[in-house]
Symmetry: C2
Subunit: 144 residues, 2 copies
């Protein structure tokens, strides 16, 4: 693994910066056109860059004067010749315009990237939190 050009840590840093600046274009630029996401929220899956751009617009647009500060912990990067895999715990903290932490949530994140010429693009992302086995409340069924 080449630490100087780690596509996983590069993608995580760009993800964090794009979210903090609510920059939809910078966020979307991280992903392949055919990206397929298993996102933590609401839907079984999101397919394609247009759907994913819509998610980012909705997310950043909902923040008002707040910002999102993202921290990654327990990052594991496995970089192959043409595919790279990263997984980590992600902490999303909403911060007020005055810089006060408002609320925070941890997700588990898996990112899969493939080499695209001189750069790497995320083609699959999976975020979630675990569920209590005895309670299926809040779970969303796959639509038929």
């Amino acid at each position: 693994m080449n630490q100087e050009m780690n596509p996983v840590s590069d993608a995580l840093a760009r993800y964090k910066a794009a979210a903090y600046s609510k920059d939809v274009d910078a966020f979307v630029a991280l992903y392949a056109d055919d990206v397929h996401v298993f996102d933590m929220w609401n839907q079984w899956e999101l397919r394609g860059i247009d759907a994913w751009r819509g998610m980012a617009q909705g997310w950043f647009g909902s923040l008002g004067t707040e910002r999102v500060v993202i921290d990654f912990s327990d990052v594991v990067a496995t970089v192959g010749a043409d595919i790279a895999l990263g997984h980590a715990t992600v902490t999303y903290t909403a911060v007020s315009a005055e810089g006060k932490d408002l609320r925070s949530l941890d997700n588990r994140m898996t990112l899969a990237l493939r080499r695209a010429g001189a750069t790497w693009k995320i083609f699959h992302e999976h975020t979630s939190g675990p569920i209590e086995h005895k309670s299926l409340k809040g779970m969303i069924k796959r639509s038929a």
Copy 2:
């Protein structure tokens, strides 16, 4: 991608067969010793083959006379030189000793495999279902 030696479809077929026959050793043989799992249920993460073997023993041991029939749909396999990535929807159906379907649940699954000599091993697995954004019921916080 070499369809004749697709490590993703091979792993999924072996996963299905091991679960149906409740064969802990065959199941565990799919995974690398340092496997790191973000599982759908109960815990934030499982690290290492011993923890994962314990999960399989608990799962298969809890089934009594039932069997689990697993079906994969919407399988996407991305096979690189030394890392392979698979993602799919997995349907787990509990079947009685008389062959009657008892209950069924869909998961979203991501598998990351790395080449280990002549074979491939799963080093990261992530399974989940999406959560309603307005309800965090049933979600488990990461332990500090």
